[in-house]
Amino acid sequence: MKTLEVVPLTRVEGDGGITVTLDGKKVQSVTLDVHEGPRLIEQLVRGMKPEDDLNVVPRICAICTLSHKYAAIRGLEKALRIDPPEKAQLMRDLMMLGESVESNSLHTFMLALPDFLGYPSAIAMLGDYGDDVKRALKLKKFGNHVMEVTSGRIVHGENPGLGGFGRYPSGTQLKEIAASAKELLPDAMRAVELFSTVKYPEYPEVETVFMSVNAPDGKYGLAGDSILISNGEEVDAEDYKKLTSERVVTHSFAKRSAFNDKSFAVGANARMINMGKRLDGQAADLFKENYSDRWLRNPLLNNLAQAIEMVWALEHLPETAEKVAALDDPARADATRETGSGTGAVEAPRGILYHHYEIKDGLIEVADIITPTAQNLDDIEVHMKACAEKMLAEGKSDEELLPALEMTARAYDPCISCATHLVKLKRI
């Protein structure tokens, strides 16, 4: 028996490791461990005022900071019955689009592409794919800029709050954002071109269920009050526990989720699978050209989904920015009650993020945060196991096995640091 260890799993944010235990030609187990220390954030925010919680929870993950902020805002606003003004809502859409461009460009070009092209890192790609690295940097910078303008700074901006924003951007800033988004569209198209031409190995393919939010008004979007499942079901976000039924595993500080006792996936591919038909513009065409039922099996296609989503985001940024600019700065909306509960569901770049709060007399009693990576972990293990088994059956060497496994895990765009999680233990 031998053990292959991939520690640390590089190029995912945070500290994780994959242990694949092989028994001859058989895979005994595949475990993705989160070694990073637990932070117990949900416990720490108990007793806090909602506005204080909003400063802390985005710090769960720097990459999805705005998703956390927004999910918390949605959960808290529902709990406190706050009805945000239209301009605030549009600003939130805008900031999410920014985060989407930032994160998807980083992941596709800088983290995943080297895997597909056989380079150790994006830095190593500079010589042969200098233009693409530059493209990535340009897109990422723009995404960061949108996040900075809307949230106050690139990472952990405090501008978005309950009932509105501290300060709204100026017309000039918004105009610039609209113009840059239009200009950068070809760069996002290039990402689609790259990811629609690379080869996706079949090894990790296993049929899975996909979940995403159901964006309102029949549109493609990054937040919603109900959840779509690729089997056709739709569930109210308040019933998130049914969808995620969390459990603790002893080999990791990250909790796990399962749906009907089986793994499921969230992420850009899940969004495309569930809402792809709602896309418009060039993104719609790209989706139609590239979509196939292979998406339901192969997690690697998440990279392609992210690239198409980037096109969607850049196409929607200008109009959103213009709408924000057209409205006067509203006052913040106030809480209309002090006790209540609410669940916010938001699409972080890597999948659904839930923030559930129970508030009593203005103080948080329960906070429950379920991150997309926590939801994906089981699915990652399933697909990695499939990948290892098939490759072993074909007699592949360990040297071939290792990168394939890493690539599979990485396709989920896992954010290990934010998988440090949550929910009450379910005892059977």
Binding site: D52, V155, H251
Partner: protein, 262 residues
Amino acid sequence: MSSPKVGIYGFTGCAGDQLMILNCEDRLVDIIGAVDIHSFAMAKSDNQNKELDVAFVEGSISTEEQLEHLKDIRSRAKVVVAIGTCACWGGPQAMKLEEGGFEDRYGGVYGDANITVTKAFEAQPVDAFVEVDMKIPGCPIDKTEFLSAVSKVVAGRHPYFYKFPVCTECKWKENPCILNEGKFCAGPLTKAGCGAVCPSHNIPCVGCWGPTDDLNLSGEYKLLVEKGYDTDEIMRKFKKFGGAGIAKLIKSMKDEQRGVSE
């Protein structure tokens, strides 16, 4: 002169500081040119564990495994720089340092499951375990402040950090003082370096840079009590980011108050 050998490591935190390094877009190429990056787990695969001139350490320490890794880094590095508030002070996960109750909170999340990877403990800043030569706080670090410090560190010089509180930068930006509106603001307690972003957005400073060099905690505490804040809430707000640093200050403030009342 060969370029300095640098390692960038992340422990318990949000990875925001490593991300900010990656976010130095236009300067990233300069950084790569000026230093020899031996290890940067978040950004590259071919990492080596060798002697280092400078190790940048992000995140707080909260497991046995991390502690071992940290000690190994310290033994290999000539200079250890803590980057980000988690590494410098403990960060949000250290807000209850000195208060106890870690086991309960841990149980609240993991039940009585026996997690075997490694043993976890209450998060603490890097300097609680090994000697730290320099702290670059921030949640996350500020690009300008970071680059300014790194430029000097790799040249073997002492960097300069603003030692004054956020209020100073806040005034440079000409914001009306939030405290004067009767609202909480951690500006006077918090090290400058962020450009007073929050007050510049009409939002109180939340203290994410950690405590500044010289501050008057009891002065601000009294002021907030006068303004009608609940004492528990004040303490929670004080402790949000400053971890070990603020815990120490609160302890001495309480000792002082006890001394007065006796």
